[in-house]
Structures are given as C-alpha cells and as structure tokens.
C-alpha cells in the first residue's frame, strides 16, 4: 500500500498527461488532419472557415463527450463490481444499457422519433426506469444481496435486449439506422446535449467520491462490513443511485458504449490497488483516456467511414484486458 501511495502522484500525473494528449489528438486527427498551429487558430477563432467549422462544431463536442462518458462508465463499473462482488460484472449487468436501448427502440418505433434530444431523453428515462425496477425487485425479496442484484439485473438485461430484437425484427426498416445508435457513438453530439446531462454526471460523480470509503467496507463480506460499523444497506442503495446517474447520463449522451465499465476497473486496480479512494479516481482517468482513444481509432478503422465506437471500445478493451491478464495484474 505504501509503495502504491508513493507512486500515486506519478500515476495520476501520467494519466492526466495521457488524457491531454488524447484530447489534443481527438481535436487534430480525423478525415482531415490539422497541425497544432491550425488547431490553435481555429480554437482562437482566427483559422480558415473550414477548419473553424470542423474543429469547433464537429470535433470539440466529441473531444468533450468521449472523456466524460468514459470517466462516468469507468467509475460506474468500479462501483458495480464492488456492489456485486463479481469481477465480470459491469453497468450492463444491471440491465441499464438494455433498458436505455429498449426505450430508444420503442419510442422510435411507436412515434417515429429520430431527433437526437428525443432519443437521448428516452435513453436516460429507460436507464432510470430499469434501475428503479431492478432495485425494487432485488430489494423486495430478502434484501439486497449481491447475488440477487446481479441475477435480477441480468434477467432484466436479457428480457429487454430480447424486446429490442423483436421490435427491430418486426420493423426492419429502422434496423440499419438504429444499429449505429445501439452500438454507441460520440459523433454529432451538440454541446447543449452535454450541458443537459452535466448535472446528472456531477451528482453521480460526487456521490461516487463520497462513497469511496464506505465501498471499501463492502469489499469484505456483509458480516465483517457490519461489524466495522458500515450501514451496508444504505451504502448499497447509494451505490445503486450513483451507478444509475452515471450510466444514465452516459447512455443519454453516447448510447450504450460497451465494455468500458468492465475493463476499466481491472486496469484501475492494476494501477493503484483496490482502495476506492484511489481506484475511483484512477478509473475515471483511465476511462476518459480509453474512450477518447477509442473515439480517435473509430475514425480510421474503416476510413473514410466512421466505425461505431462501441465496436472499438470492445476491441481495445479486449486487448487491454489480455495485457492485464497476461501480466497477471487483473
């Protein structure tokens, strides 16, 4: 622990630096590649009109959305894995992404809504409704044991994904257009959308920070946690709310971006150990770098077309997970 504590500023510093590089890369790289000078001019408002438009209206929003979503999902993932005491759990396990997808698909099938704000609102509502449902069902029958939370969540995830599939199969015309949304994307997200979801992220992040110490107690079994004086039930409820806020806001901004919430906790633990006061911060930074890097890669994998960022996060995450596993760090 002490060795980790000494390395801590170094690790955080390194991650912040990486994030800076990633954000710069996200602004400069893409269909057209700009030099740092052109980037500076565009941001200052004195560039060519084309660079001005591309950077300020197209790339700046996604350079903001990607790290926010990555950080939120990384933190949510850490909380879920502690809450469920399961290292292969993620926000998807609680059914939140499936609920968001179902709401989006149902709303666009029923009302033909395709406006970004409509879909975004549907996604957030779907995620919140699902979290309330999963929470209520897990709580009614004999308390909030980790096993019960996971089982109810997974069942809802399966159920809702199935409904998504059925709706998509029955209205095949919408398939292609929604498929892109359903795999997550940071493209064409205006900053007003970010602004609307920022309060959710802020509250969720704040709750996560306040939960850091209580979550440590939850890593042991219930009896030990209780004997340490931790109000286990209250911590679980608060954790659930934090996860719902963070995941709901991310899915509203970028759709269900998979795999971030699963891998980032492993990377964070490999870097700083398993104390939440250190792990949550590291998870936020790793998640931010990871999502931003994936977003840059998504522009080049099937150049000149954009790949869905969900596919890239999965592939990058798989590679990261393999590296961690091979080094026996996960």
């Amino acid at each position: 622990m002490t060795a980790t504590a000494n390395r801590l500023p170094l690790i955080y510093g390194g991650l912040v630096l990486l994030l800076g590089v990633a954000v710069l890369g996200s602004l400069m790289l893409g269909y057209t590649i700009y030099t740092p000078g052109e980037l500076w001019d565009a941001l200052a408002g004195s560039g060519t009109s084309e660079a001005d438009t591309v950077i300020r209206e197209y790339r700046l929003p996604r350079a903001i959305v990607a790290p926010l979503v990555g950080a939120a999902l990384g933190v949510a993932g850490v909380i879920v894995q502690t809450l469920s005491r399961n290292r292969i759990a993620s926000p998807d396990t609680l059914g939140l992404n499936a609920g968001a997808s179902l709401a989006v698909v149902a709303v666009s099938a029923a009302f033909g809504t395709s406006s970004l704000f409509g879909l975004s609102f549907a996604a957030a509502s779907g995620a919140f409704l699902t979290s309330v449902l999963v929470f209520a069902l897990a709580a009614t029958a004999g308390g909030l044991s980790p096993l019960r939370i996971v089982l109810v969540g997974v069942t809802f995830a399966g159920l809702m994904n199935a409904m998504v599939e059925v709706i998509l199969t029955v209205n095949e015309a919408e398939l292609q257009q929604l498929l892109f949304w359903l795999s997550g994307a940071f493209v064409d997200r205006p900053l007003t959308l970010v602004a609307r979801n920022l309060p959710l992220l802020a509250v969720g992040g704040l709750m996560a920070a306040m939960l850091a110490r209580p979550l440590d107690a939850l890593q042991t079994d219930d009896a030990t946690a209780q004997s340490l004086g931790a109000p286990v039930r209250v911590i679980r409820i608060a954790s659930f709310v934090a996860v719902a806020l963070l995941t709901g806001a991310s899915v509203a901004m970028a759709g269900p971006v998979g795999f971030v919430g699963l891998v980032v906790p492993h990377a964070a633990r490999a870097l700083v150990g398993s104390r939440h006061s250190e792990k949550l911060g590291a998870a936020a930074l790793v998640g931010a770098v990871y999502a931003t890097a994936a977003d840059i890669l998504a522009r080049f994998v099937i150049y000149p077309t954009e790949a869905p960022v969900g596919a890239i996060t999965a592939v990058v995450g798989a590679a990261l997970l393999l590296v961690l596993l091979r080094r026996r760090a996960a």
Binding site: N86, R87, I88, A89, T93, L137, T140, A141, G142, S145, L147, R148, V150, L151, V152, V154, T155, F156, G158, L159, N161, A162, M163, E165, V166, T169, V170, E172, L175, Q176, L179, F180, S183, G258, F259, L262, H266, V301, I302, T305, A307, P308, G310, A311, I312, A314, V315, G317, A318, A319, L321, L322, L325, R326, R328, A330
Partner: protein
C-alpha cells in the same frame, strides 16, 4: 449422555430435511420431464395448421394420414427436436460453467464460444457471397463455419490463458476478452456489408431452429448425446456443494485438471448446439439458476433440471414465434428471454433459497 441425546435429536430433523429435499428434487425433475414431453407433443400439434393431439400420437407411433405425417414428421418434428437438444445442451453447459467457476454470471457466452461461432458465420456469409449477395455455396455449410469459429475461439482462449486456465475467474476474463474482440469484428463487418447480410447474420446471432432437416438433427444428436452423458458423469464427480479447492481436495479431485475437463466439455456442448441453433446463449445463463431454485444444489438433479428447463424454454420460444409472429420470421433465440425471464423472476422472488 443427555448431551449426546440432545445432539442426536437436533440432528434428526436435519437428516429428515435431507431426505425430504431429495424426494422433492426427484419429484420436480419428474414433473419437468412431464412438462417437456407435453411441450414436445404440443409443439408438434400447434402451428399454422392445428393437428389434434391424438393424431400427433398416432403419427408418432407410425400411423396417421399422409398430410399429417408430412406436417409433423417433415416440418415440425425436426425443429422441435433440435430445440430440445440445443436447449438442453446449452443449459447443461451453463450449469457446468457456473458450478465450476462459482460465478453466477458465468454462461456459455462468456467463454467466447458463441461469439466465435457468430464470427465464423459472418465471415462465411461475407466471403462466399457474390456481387448480388447470393451465396455461392449451399447454406448447409453454415453450421460448419459456426463450428469452426467456435473451435477457433475456444482454442484461442485456452492458448492465451495458458497455465492460467485453471483459475476460474481468469479463464472467464480471457473468454470475455476473446468474445468482445469477435463481437467487434462482427459489428464492423455487418456495418460495412450490405443490409441483406446484416439481416441474415442477425438471425443466426439471435438463434433459431426453423429450416432444420432430419440430417442436421441426427448429426446434432450424434454429437450431443455422448457429450451430455459425459457431462452427467462429470456431474456425479462434482461435490454436492459448489466446488471450492478445499472441498475438492477432500473428495480426492485434482481441481485444475478437473476444471479444464469441465471447461472443455462445456465448450464442446455449446459449440455443437450453436452450430445448428445459433446464439441461443441466454438459456445457458438462466436455466441453471432456474434449476437451482427448483431443485437446490444437488449436482445430478441440477444438471437434469437444467437440461429439461433449457429444452422447454427453447421449444416454448420456437412455438411462440411460430404461432404469434408468423409469417414474420422472428428468431426463436430472441424470445427465449421473454419466455424464461418472467418465470425465473417469479422463482427468485418467491423463494429465499439462494443461500440454501
């Protein structure tokens, strides 16, 4: 003396409970068997034309009119039997994985087998289609492509994990990584390919048992029945409680090797069933939990109950898509969750046997 008597009288009800639990488990497995058989007969009877149950029985025992024989023996029975086999095999695979990893989220899909098979199918559709999107070889080769993909994924998972394969959570994480990589390649291939291919691949990925012929059923049965018997034998070697290293050593098991054998068996069961039925993997997650809630933690009752639950769910899903959604061909795999989830939630909420 009195202390001993008190101890005995305290233990007696426990033994009584054990006997009662066993009788209960046997009763439930038998009930499930009856439900499975009824479901099988019902699946043969229902469809676009209704064949009365007594005529179904007549056809099955060799009689019946020509039309009814055609409908039941050629159109309905192959897909029903494939649903039974694949549903049971996936469920048993999930049961073995959950038992041996002691992770409630373990299922055939996290070993990378299902997504590997799906990638095999997508590559098959992409490589062997001509410019007008027609396949240049028979669709009959598709199961082979799926099986190859599944084997490649399993081989990759074991090769990457190497000596770490004996650790349960690590092997699961390796499987998840391989599955995720396969899934993203699929996503990119589907998004860049023509819409027709997307639809066809999406059908496979969801899983369906329509368009099954007798040859496929025979081949599946030939491969699956021995694997299922092996699984049952393996189950008798499982300690009654979930397998941890101490209890395994105490019953004389070499746990790392035993785990590897079980993993390989689970992978084989999944590969064979998804080759023909597609990605029906949700059954593999749900059915074992359902079985545990129904019959408790006994290994043999658990494996039998899982198999029967899996068979009933997939048959039920296939029946629903045939009756409710016809003529739209909704893949049965998508409905499995809709069929299984409500009953599972009911079981979960009704009882508090999870720690029992």
């Amino acid at each position: 003396m009195t202390g001993g008597a008190a101890k005995l009288s305290r233990r007696a009800p426990v033994l009584g409970n054990l006997a009662r639990d066993r009788a209960r488990a046997v009763t439930i497995v038998l009930l499930l068997l009856v439900v499975t058989i009824l479901m099988l007969l019902g699946s043969a009877a229902f469809g676009s034309t209704w064949v009365p149950l007594e005529k179904v029985v007549a056809v099955l025992s060799g009689g019946g009119e020509r039309m009814e024989r055609l409908i039941i023996l050629q159109l309905r029975l192959p897909r029903v039997l494939l649903a039974v086999l694949a549903g049971a095999a996936i469920a048993v695979s999930g049961f073995l994985l959950q038992k041996v990893t002691r992770n409630e989220l373990a299922s055939p899909s996290v070993l990378g087998v299902v997504d590997g098979a799906a990638l095999g199918v997508v590559i098959f559709l992409a490589l062997l289609s001509n410019d007008s999107n027609a396949l240049i070889v028979s669709i009959g080769w598709q199961p082979l492509a799926a099986a190859l993909g599944a084997c490649a994924a399993v081989a990759l998972v074991f090769a990457l994990s190497g000596r770490q394969a004996s650790s349960a959570v690590r092997l699961l994480l390796f499987g998840i990584a391989v599955a995720a990589a396969a899934k993203s390649v699929i996503m990119v291939l589907l998004l860049t390919g023509p819409i027709y291919r997307t639809t066809q691949a999406a059908r496979w990925i969801a899983g369906a048992v329509n368009e099954t012929n007798w040859g496929e059923v025979q081949l599946t049965a030939l491969l699956l029945v021995p694997a299922l018997v092996l699984a049952l034998i393996a189950a008798t070697r499982l300690p009654p409680s979930d397998l941890d290293d101490v209890s395994a050593r105490s019953v004389g098991l070499n746990l790392p090797v035993f785990r590897l054998v079980i993993f390989a068996l689970a992978a084989a069961l999944t590969a064979i069933s998804v080759a023909f039925a597609g990605g029906v993997s949700f059954i593999g997650l749900l059915a074992p939990h359902m079985a545990r809630l129904l019959v408790g933690r006994s290994a043999i009752a658990g494996i039998l109950a899982s198999a029967l639950c899996g068979a009933v769910i997939l048959m039920g899903a296939d029946l629903v898509v045939r009756v409710l959604f016809a003529p739209t061909e909704v893949p049965a795999g998508t409905i499995t969750a809709v069929i299984g989830a409500p009953y599972f939630l009911y079981l979960l909420l009704r009882k508090d046997r999870l720690n029992g």
